[in-house]
Symmetry: C2
Subunit: 266 residues, 2 copies
């Protein structure tokens, strides 16, 4: 289906614009992805937008043509509109003139196969969508299975998180759960839960990591609750040579994750 929208007050424009808001995303179960690169990443990962929005008079591009064909083939909707209306939808200049709407993925723990990857990242009450997206990107680089979001985290389907993930939101599994749900799920099978900690910990370098290894980081300002640290199978320390006693959450996950990767492959 194909149509052209010319008015700012068109209900579809309002609908698309509303997807920048978490509450509306949740209610609709859809999210918005901006830019040709991310949409192409999605397509290469087998994800086709339900709605493709393109600016009129955009520069021709073979990747946009490929997106259009894929959306047509999947029975999706292609909308053409003015660059101004597209900017209104995405909230910024969109020089590539393209955005897409996707159905949110299943984010239940049950959808994860823990034995499909040696490493999983876990974030607890992570508030910054940029950190969340960066963790997805790091997970992709590590060959991790996905990111498990514990307690009240930023929205992995926000524009900021999707952008920071550099497309990894389409390749990494994402699950959302309470701590009780997560720990119950984890203990139903194999899995080593690891966190950086100052309590009863061993040096991270050369620590006895085991697959599937779940690398957990805590909230940006509070860190992990003591109870969560106590439930870990392995607590590790990382060198802190300066004034501070912690790293940025996404940085800590990456340094620890790369150590786990080297350990498991060494």
């Amino acid at each position: 289906m194909r149509r052209t929208i010319t008015g700012y007050s068109n209900p579809t424009v309002k609908y698309l614009r509303s997807l920048r808001d978490k509450k509306h995303r949740r209610r609709e179960g859809k999210f918005l992805v901006e830019g040709l690169r991310l949409l192409t990443d999605a397509l290469e990962s087998g994800r086709v937008p339900e709605i493709l929005v393109m600016a009129e008079k955009r520069d021709p591009h073979s990747l946009i043509d490929a997106l259009e064909r894929a959306v047509d083939a999947a029975g999706g909707e292609v909308i053409e509109t003015s660059p101004d209306i597209l900017s209104k939808i995405t909230g910024k200049d969109n020089p590539q003139g393209v955005a897409g709407v996707f159905a949110e993925f299943d984010t239940s723990l049950a959808a994860l196969d823990r034995n499909s990857a040696p490493i999983w990242l876990v974030a607890q009450a992570l508030r910054d969508p940029g950190n969340l997206g960066t963790m997805l990107r790091t997970g992709d680089a590590l060959g991790a299975g996905g990111l498990i979001l514990i307690d009240d985290c930023a929205d992995p389907f926000s524009v900021e998180a999707v952008r920071a993930s550099m497309g990894a939101v389409f390749t990494q599994g994402v699950a959302r759960a309470s701590w009780e749900e997560f720990i119950a799920w984890l203990r139903q099978g194999e899995g080593q839960l690891v966190a950086a900690s100052l309590r009863d910990a061993v040096p991270y370098r050369g620590a006895p990591f085991a697959a599937p290894c779940f690398v957990m980081v805590g909230n940006e300002s509070q860190g992990l609750p003591e109870e969560y640290e106590a439930a870990c199978d392995l607590r590790v320390t990382m060198p802190m040579r300066g004034r501070a006693d912690s790293l940025n959450a996404a940085v800590a996950a990456a340094v620890l994750g790369y150590e786990v990767l080297a350990s498991l492959e060494g």
Copy 2:
């Protein structure tokens, strides 16, 4: 000196507010720091604000008292104002009711002593102030000497960078230089320049790092120019098990920096 400001249109309010803007910071050579934690970090690092701004009717706090005494002792200015005016200055709610103005530090390469630390971080055309601040924070944790900003980078004295640094802007050296200035300075003494690269590189794990080691990362979207990679003494690869061929710049600096630290100390 102590005074109370009650009007939004007071020139000092306009001056303080203008420091949120890069152009004005550069011209004045001053920067704004918000919040009790960062100001206390600064004080512990021996940096006293030239101006301390406090909200009237704030909750009493011994750390605020300590700041006040330090500013008085250094001959600085203490300003009391309404919470609303303070919010206008800092551009957000400031529940701790305190902000400070500091003189920008010397950011010339000549101010750095390369032999004072085994690791230095180098960023080229880094555009995101959050990434920049995160690199400062990581540098503090690594015991690095500081961060060298090559070409046109985000401003290390922006509110966002200072906040993401978690106070490390006060403990890490910061230098700004063109590539030509940097490489000329580097080659005047000891120093190994290292970057992650896909060209003619060795695995990062177990690579022959040597102090003082300068770990360089490139622009968020472009990476390092080929010429800069070619000028490195050591090019290393990091595992990329997924779709993407790069990490977030601050993450890459941290993973590489922790490997250098382990190598030099091992």
